[in-house]
Structure formats: C-alpha cells, structure tokens
Amino acid sequence: MEYFLTEEQKMIKDLARRVARERILPVAAELDEREEFPSQLREWFGETDLMGVGIPEEYGGLGGGVLETCLAVEEISWACPGVATSYAANWLGIMPLLLAGSEEQKQRYVRAVARGEKLAAFCLTEAEAGSDAGAIRTTARRDGDFYVLDGTKQWITNGGEADIYTVIALTAPEKGPRGASCFVVEKGTPGLGFGRKEKKMGIRASATREVVFTDCRIPATQLVGREGQGFAIAIRTLDRARPGVGAQAVGLAQGALDRALAYARQRVQFGKPIITFQAIGHMLADMATQIEAARALVYATARTIDAGVKDFAKESAMAKLFASDVAMRVTTDAVQILGGYGYMRDYPVEKLMRDAKITQIYEGTNQIQRNVIAQELLRESARKG
C-alpha cells in the first residue's frame, strides 16, 4: 500500500526498522524470558535520535508528530512489543509537558528526553481507578511554596526505570475529577518510592511497577498547567497517544504474519509446503487484509491529529480498538499456523500472542473505547438534530 510518506517519515521508519531488526530482535526472546528491562534502551533510541521523533525541534527533537511516532513504534513493535511499550510510554510520559507544561519545564525535561538522557512515565491509574479514571485518590496538598503528594499509582509503565514522572493527583478532592491537577516529579525526590515489579503475561521486557508517594514534597513550580486542569490534561494526553497503541498492535501483528508466512512456506506436510493448502492460504490472506486495514486507520488517525483537527477522541479510540483486536486475532492465527511449534517458546509467535493481549486492555480497555465512540456518535447525531 502506498501511504505517501514524506522522505523524512520514510527515514524515521527505516532507521527504526534497522534498530529493531539489528539490535532489538536478537535479544527480544531473552528479555521476555528473563522479564528484563533492556539496559540498552537509551543506546537504541537516544543515540539514534529516535527518542526525539515526537518532540518539537525547539526542545531538541525531530519535530515529528503522532504519525512519525507511530511509524517508529510500529517498527519497534515488529521486533518486540515490550520494548515498543517502553518507548511509547516515554512519549506518553512527556505528553502532559508538551501539551500544558511551562517553557521552563519543557526546556528542562523534554530536552533531556529528546536526547535520550532521561526516560519518562505517566502516572494515572490506581487500584480503584482503572477505566473509571475519575476515581483516583492520590492527593496533592498545597503547603506554602510546595505540594505534598500522597497515594499509590498502579501498573505504571517505566515505573522505577524512568527519571521523570508526570502524575495526576487531586488538589481539591471534594471536586472529584475537576479537582485533579498534573505534576512532574523527578526520581530521587524524597517520598517517591516504587513497589515490586509486576509479573506479566506479555510485554515482559517492559517494567510495570507501583509508584508510591509518601509525604512527597515538591516545589509548586512542578505543577503542570493550572490547578484543576489535571483530568483534562490526562484525557488529552491519552487521546493523542492512543494511536501509538494502534501502531504497536499493527507492528506486532505484522511481525506475526511475517513469521507465519515464512513458516508456511518451508513447513512440509503431506508432501507439500503448507502454504499451498487453501486453509492456510486463506488464514494468511485474512491476516494480511486485517493488518492493512488497521494500518490505514492508524495512519489516517495520526494524520488527522497532526493536521490540528480539534476533536479526534472518536478516531483515536477507533484506531486503538480496531488495531488491537486485529493484533489479537492475527497473533492467535499465527500460533495456529505454526501448530505445535507455535505453542512452543522456541518460536516467536506465542510471545506475540501474549504481547498482543495488553493492547486490548491498556490505555483504555476496548470496552471503554467503544463507550467513547458511542458517546461521540450520539453527540454528533444530536448536533445534527
């Protein structure tokens, strides 16, 4: 398919592909097996400038938008969706700063992330506040020129590994979500601690931890935007980053298809390569078709956002929903095509199937995405009368 990518976009995609295939792929299985966060992350993405793809040039980035970031995520995910998670979560972590941060915050934090010197994480989810993000309980109490944070954030990607944490906490708990604010907290701040690393089904190369705030005192200048804007910042951050999950899903689905295709060509049963059996050929055809449709939707959504369209919550939800459902189906079929070998950890497709599952869950479950789409449909049709 011709997606009319610019020279620069092709360059980003090609470079991400090289890093993915030459550096990440050789260690992906081992990282998964050992549930290990790659120590080479900064080398892979910092030294190649890939960390700065979605960061404006004035903060040391490449000045790319959502599409450029999606292209990089897709290629990385082809080799290892777990590593792609860490990469995308870094972008998610600085998104509140890009959207609402002060000039000083951007110069200080975003620039360091663009150079690959610092890694970021976004902290919203809590034990009792998953899909119902408005139910968060972490508080930020004003105390003179400081805020004091208390509470526990759960399942934070890059937790413990990141140097910069953007955190949504309540400055006016009585107001509910309207009383939420966003803060940026540096690792090493007294009162910022980390829980145990979660043991996950997939994306095991990524680090997922509790981020715990205990009487954590930060200067008032660490407030991102204004008090009360926290929830809006979080929603805008997620809407903007969501196509990234779609791109991750597309990349890993493509990875599963490529491996299933290669296997089907060389695996001989009944005297013939199994790809010559229509049952297998049709599965591959369906997989390829679904992936292409998902890719087209993700790219179109990314372009819609980059074009400056104001309302894109629906499109963003559609891209994430569709691509992640495709990834789950395609990886399941890839395992089926490899048969018994597909079920074994010696072959990479079972990992991709485990990795695919999270894309239907995180950054808003696919049920929540459908809620968003349905609400937007209702709103649009009501507007038309």
Partner: protein, 261 residues
C-alpha cells in the same frame, strides 16, 4: 587526531553473479553498501575522535553513486568526505586504486592515522590498505583487533595472527587495517542522516590528485583478469569396511600410497 578512513562501496549480496563475457561482477539490481569491514574502520575512527578529539575524513574511489557510501559514512560520524571519481579511474586493480588513494591522502597531509577494513567482500584481496601505506612510505599493521594506545607519533595495537595475538608498536603517521572484533559499528542517528544529505562532497579527478591518466584506472593496472569462475569441487567419499584392525590397516596403506604419511 586527524584520521583518514578509506572505504569501498560493494554489492550488498555475497552471492553476486559474474558476467561470463566480461569477467566482471553483475551489479545491476544489487543494492550497494559500505564494505562491511570498512564500517568497523569508520567506527574505530569515530570512536578515536570521540575519545581524543579531532576529525575523521572518509574517502573512496568509485563511480558517481559511491557518493551514497560517503553520505552513509557522514551519517555515521565522519566529518568530511572525498570522492575520487572519473572515467580515467575506472577498471583499476588494487595497485592503481592504492596509487590514486595514496595521492589523494597526500593532499590531506598532515594526518595521524589511516584506517581501512581488512579486505573488501567483493574482491577479497586485502591489498589496498598495505599498498597505500607503501606508496606513502609509512608503516602499516594489518588485522588490528584493538588500538591499545594512541598519541601523536605513536600507537600500540593488537593484531590477529593465526592462533595468537601480536602486540605491535608503530610510529605515526601510519596505517592500520582492522578486523570485526575491534568494535560494534553504530546505527546512524536521524540527525546524522539529515546532516549527510546536506553535505557537500568534493569529487577529485586524477588531475586533482596530481596523477597522469596513464597510471590510474585500467591503464595503470598491471593485473589482467583472464577468467572468473566458481571452482568445481570434486569430493569422493569412500567407506572402508571390516574390523577396526582391518580398517586401520587399509587406511594406513591408502594414506601412505597417496603420500600423506
């Protein structure tokens, strides 16, 4: 440190086909890359620059499209690039190639170190590096796996020899050819690639390097390729049967009869 890295653009595939009429490689449809061994040479140059400061100049001789290899080298950290390209350079053997490269290197004096890959994956001669050093009348060390010490006028390097490692002290300026154990070449950065696209790469002709056309290219090449072919390997296996004693007996006499023992 001023470092010069000599590179070659080669076909990406190791399974290149040969035109039986002209005995030359069929390059059509095959992507060109920097000779893999030269990427280690370039990386070593860039690492030295990053450690000690200085500049890395990368140079190649080839057709106009060899410019792409030089652009790639700039993306990987070279500061300047020079392309020797002219119809008169075409058809050069290793002698004519190294004569041209050496003449071009002279124009870049003063320099401290020249680094080359141990050999190119298409010709596999491993001659150009040492020949350049001879033309320049400077010392050279081949198959270097580590630069242990480096300072103006002097270097200590480790070279791979069969079954051992040799530590050699050499005076500078000098030339080394490197093996792949020496480092892991980096992947270029996006900013590096963009910089490389904008880079101006001067093209030098034989006149620019002060050589008459008779001594470069095909005319300056004493080597004539008669024929290039894939050798037919004939192997015959034979099973010697019998008790271990009988087999040993037969094997021994057989080896003696063919003069192996």
């Amino acid at each position: 440190m001023r470092i010069i890295v000599l590179i070659k653009q080669v076909p990406e595939s190791t399974e290149v086909r040969i035109n039986p009429e002209t005995n030359t490689l069929i390059r059509e449809g095959v992507k060109s890359i920097i000779n893999p061994f030269d990427t280690y040479a370039l990386e070593e140059g860039v690492l030295i620059k990053e450690r000690l400061g200085g500049t890395v100049v990368v140079m190649t001789m080839g057709p106009p499209q060899a410019r792409e290899a030089l652009q790639d080298a700039i993306a990987l950290g070279a500061d300047e690039a020079i392309l020797l390209s002219d119809r008169a350079f075409a058809g050069a053997d290793t002698l004519a190639t190294s004569r041209a490269l050496a003449a071009a290197v002279r124009k870049l004096e003063p320099y401290d170190l020249i680094i080359c890959g141990k050999q190119a994956i298409d010709g596999d001669t491993a001659q150009v590096g040492p020949e350049v050093a001879e033309f320049l009348d400077i010392p050279h060390v081949t198959y270097v796996r580590k630069v242990r010490e480096l300072e103006p006028g002097r270097a200590v390097v480790e070279r791979m020899v069969e079954g051992a490692v040799e530590t050699v002290e050499m005076s500078l300026p000098g030339l080394i050819t490197v093996v792949k154990d020496i480092n892991q070449p980096r992947i270029p950065s996006l900013k590096g690639i963009m910089k490389a696209r904008r880079a101006t790469i001067p093209v030098w002709t034989p006149a620019d390097v002060g050589l008459p056309e008779e001594v470069v290219g095909l005319r300056g090449s004493p080597t004539a390729v008669e024929k290039v072919f894939v050798p037919q390997v004939e192997r015959r296996g034979e099973v010697i049967e019998g008790s271990p004693e009988e087999v040993a007996e037969v094997l021994l006499s057989r080896l003696q009869s063919v003069g192996v023992l």
